[in-house]
Symmetry: C2
């Protein structure tokens, strides 16, 4: 079982690699090779199977062909330009999010056996003329270039799966919080930093009102769901391989209250409340509520509480920090 993770240097790619290291297998077969690819080669991890850390520019078809010269059985495609950056630079987002995905799928289709491709799409697929509460089967009307490019990738994945070129499974990730590391250019960055940074003694600004609802999921849950997507039988997905992932809907105020329940009031007192119109324009186009019927029927995991998320963050990302 040869496995590739694109965006392997990102926090999700790193957590996914560690989780695969724990199970040692995928789709019932032992993992014999894990390749982590990113624009800069990711730092090596200690893993119980051979692992390679490779620099690859997915906007360059030749680079991708080199990366995939030896076929993979399972590909987790996480590499992306995030929402804020794709909004600031239309062509960069298009090159990485659409053409990078196309380059990857074009290389994957040359494999003798169609590889399983787990594709990270996003709740940013939703917006615009869609209902306030998302259900499966509504027409996608993304209101960011990031969301648009992700949905274009979904369509390509569906079509290339229908044609037998790949065996795709597309997951629309809720906002993943609490992200470790530093703030990034995602418009959703604050949805982690108001918890992550304040729990570590820093101040952090919340650019939206306390009653803003977030459809969110924890890193642990997302990693489990990425692996679950790879393990499922392709026939279970039906003709639409791209689904809304389970998450929880909480307002910012409810999430802060959960943090305070777990850790006391110090972190909450470090949050400032200065509205940011640019961030609001993007995130108010997203949806805070979703009923992911198909994903739940397929056995994907759903977060039980944001208090768990806070505990997992403290255990996974603070306790283990160097």
């Amino acid at each position: 079982m040869r496995v590739l993770i694109t965006g392997g240097g990102g926090f999700l790619g790193q957590k996914l690699a560690r989780a695969l290291g724990t199970t040692g297998q995928l789709r019932g077969q032992p993992i014999t090779q894990l390749t982590l690819a990113d624009l800069a080669a990711p730092a090596p991890l200690t893993l119980p199977f051979p692992a390679t850390n490779t620099a690859c520019n997915i906007t360059d078809p030749a680079d991708v062909q080199t990366l995939m010269a030896q076929p993979f059985d399972v590909i987790f495609h996480l590499a992306a330009i995030v929402s804020g950056q794709a909004e600031a630079d239309f062509d960069l987002g298009l090159n990485v999010n659409l053409f990078g995905t196309l380059n990857l799928l074009q290389a994957a289709r040359t494999h003798a056996n169609a590889p399983v491709v787990v594709y990270a799409s996003s709740i940013a697929a939703h917006g615009g003329e869609e209902p306030a509460h998302i259900v499966d089967g509504v027409e996608l009307n993304p209101q960011t270039s990031y969301g648009t490019q992700k949905v274009m990738g979904e369509l390509l994945l569906n079509d290339m799966t229908r044609r037998g070129m790949v065996d795709g499974r597309g997951l629309r990730l809720p906002t993943v919080t609490i992200r470790p590391g530093r703030a990034n250019a995602a418009a959703s960055s604050f949805m982690s930093s108001i918890f992550r940074d304040t729990l570590q003694g820093e101040t952090s600004n919340c650019p939206v009102a306390p009653d803003y609802p977030i459809y969110h999921t924890a890193p642990r849950t997302v990693v489990a769901n990425l692996i679950h997507a790879a393990n499922l039988n392709c026939a279970d997905f039906g003709t639409n391989r791209c689904i809304n992932l389970p998450g929880r809907s909480d307002t910012v105020a409810q999430m802060i209250a959960a943090m305070t329940d777990v850790t006391g009031p110090d972190a909450e007192n470090r949050i400032t409340w200065h509205p940011d119109a640019a961030v609001q324009t993007i995130v108010k186009g997203w949806r805070g509520h979703c009923t992911p019927t198909k994903a739940l029927a397929l056995g994907f995991a759903q977060d039980a509480s944001f208090a768990d998320t806070v505990r997992w963050f403290l255990a996974d990302d603070i306790a283990k920090a160097p």
Copy 2:
């Protein structure tokens, strides 16, 4: 008012050009230039304003930039690889239907004023896990590469419109019948040829059963709707610029009966009935019923009867044939 038609050598592009020649104006302004572009330069038409017929390979960005070196006010983007051919050659379909559209929109965004872009999408956008009877707002799950590529173009058009790069209006065309000319590689080709060819004394095969329902529209109606789309105010469209166009639902048997009512039984008797599994696989993935609420509210025209379509075909395409 400078106007461009891509796919200008096709039957719709030609009919649209003649219709613009009749009105002489668009968006309340006189047309001062009409450019018809196609892979081979279209034959000149007699028009009451300056017209240019240009060869342009829309898969070549430089060719498209040359075509659009002088800005256009309204662009009708009709050029495409049809369904059967895009199914037979994945890369060709992707190159023309997706990258051709991207090249056009990238050139259009360099215009000082965002041009109106009327984009021909298709009812082939629908299929798969969608309901049997299409309504507005259902998640698009195309079951052909043609439909997939058309929807990817819709998303791009929506996003570039949201960003102010173009002023897009995407129309999902029902099956256009009766098409003049010869059979083509569209899986829907028979939906014209069983009328067009038999009305001209030839035999023609129907590869589906008489009870197969078709959501169809006449060339006259489509041309009127393309022009209507260009004339509408952008604000009327909302955040989703891509809509299901009105059509009529009739079974093949009902359409044949309408033809017989208008012309007598000779044509009907020239139809043969040999099932074709390849065609059926494609067209049975389409939808035969659609309620296009938004388009009707926006004032788009709807066909009243297939008998009208037969009369219009005889008047427009047989009477005027050389």
